[in-house]
Symmetry: C2
């Protein structure tokens, strides 16, 4: 059995940065070290960091002192204001620079008087955080086909960093006829686009495609969707334990890709599992 791993699989710049900053913080602070929500969307990584001393809390008001690591998805305006008022909490901000950029663009759009459309998942922490800075004055949508479109003068369009570029293009296509001005900020991070593109190319070449990453990870879910669209035998897994060996029957080529919050070691675990479980037949 041949195993092909996508070049772009695994940690992106923002995640690498967040993990490094979190580890440095744990090392320095030792105690009273918290992260607001899971630092990245990978339960295994989060559990490991928790063992090292980074406690996940769900509400910023749950701590009165100590060090708070802000996760890569960022925080809301309300949370940010709470932290500013509490000097006993020292803050380590690992917000992905691309998310910070989106915030800047959103504020620019709202100040410019645009009707804002936001491609993304309204329950995702990145989206919830970002929208809080413009008092939720945006239409959040996942499917451009479902957009109710009126006539506008100025439309601003922006996206969650981990969305599919095809969906953003579809939204542009729908909005352009109904507005005089359409200002689009392509905030889909390059790594996400490249990873999706490579995943599709790889899925076309193999008999089985494994997409590795947190089940709560937006970019991994999107990655799985694009693979599934070209190869039915595509699966989203968090660890090799989920691989059903029947999937491997008759398989000659397996493709692996992984979301932005998946460490290299997890990819290696999957490769090892596949090697250990490939039969004579599909080894040939």
């Amino acid at each position: 059995m041949e195993i092909l791993v996508a070049k772009s699989a695994g940690f992106c710049y923002g995640v690498k940065r967040a993990i490094k900053m979190a580890k440095d913080t744990i090392e320095k602070s030792k105690v009273n070290c918290f992260s607001l929500g899971p630092i990245i969307h990978n339960p295994i990584v989060v559990r490991d960091l928790e063992k090292e001393g980074l406690k996940v809390i769900e509400n910023v008001r749950d701590i009165k002192k100590g060090t708070l690591v802000i996760r890569s998805h960022g925080i809301s305006k309300d949370e940010s204001e709470y932290l500013k008022k509490n000097p006993k909490i020292s803050v380590v901000d690992t917000t992905c620079p691309f998310v910070t950029k989106s915030k800047k663009f959103l504020v620019r759009l709202i100040r410019g008087g645009y009707n804002i459309f936001f491609l993304g998942d309204k329950d995702h922490p990145e989206v919830k955080g970002l929208l809080s800075y413009i008092n939720n004055r945006a239409v959040v949508f996942k499917d451009p086909d479902e957009l109710e479109i009126k006539n506008y003068k100025k439309v601003g369009l922006i996206s969650q960093t981990t969305q599919k570029i095809e969906l953003l293009k579809k939204a542009v296509d729908r909005l352009l006829s109904s507005t005089e001005e359409l200002r689009v900020f392509n905030t889909i991070c390059k790594t996400t686009s490249i990873r999706q593109k490579e995943a599709v190319e790889l899925a076309k070449k193999v008999d089985l495609m494994l997409v590795l990453g947190g089940k709560n990870s937006s970019n991994t879910k999107k990655l799985y969707e694009v693979c599934k669209s070209v190869l039915n035998k595509s699966f989203h897994i968090e660890s090799p334990k989920e691989i059903d060996t029947r999937w491997l029957e008759g398989v000659k080529k397996v493709g692996i890709t992984a979301g932005a919050s998946t460490p290299k070691e997890h990819i290696n675990d999957v490769i090892k599992f596949l090697r250990d479980n490939s039969t004579e037949e599909n080894n040939g």
Copy 2:
């Protein structure tokens, strides 16, 4: 033979306005009445106005005094400056308000530091005029597929008022992946879009489609293209004289549409010609 005329066929708002202003000017001034280039892209209408007293000149420097009617497509910065310096020339500006709007948007884009892409015909007076206000600092293109695209930070996209919305959407599609910000001004005038949409619907229902309007008219040429794409038996004519009666053989339904610079009388002439030349057979 059934004759179906598109509801939106003929004079648009801007052309109606320009013709009215030109006629009013001729009536008032009587002599020394000029238009810079043909006032609209319809040779027959232009000839009629010339008979009434509106002389077409090609260079603004050809007149020293009198009344100059600026045509619906607008003028260049250089021409505008010349006129400002010559108080003996009184100016009647019939520039289509939609073209004036495009100028405003272009200036906004250049001031904002955008890389400007302009969908249009670089030799069309509207385009030449508009671009002169930004010292031609734009990539003018007709076919989005031919665009050479690099990586940009800020891209501004704008269109000649008479282009096809599909081409603008295609350009957006190509540019969006290569820039952080894409600011599109949909300057295609609504009448143009509606006229094209209706023409396509009509062409689908008939056996022969006649598109009436100046051969130098951008919007008529586009109208012909969209009809031809759904019905091979589509023809672009300026007057009924060009109709080859062989086109009518076996035809049960004829569709007629007309460009923005085509007067109602011309449409009526075509209808009359068709009625006079339809055989018993295709009259039935």
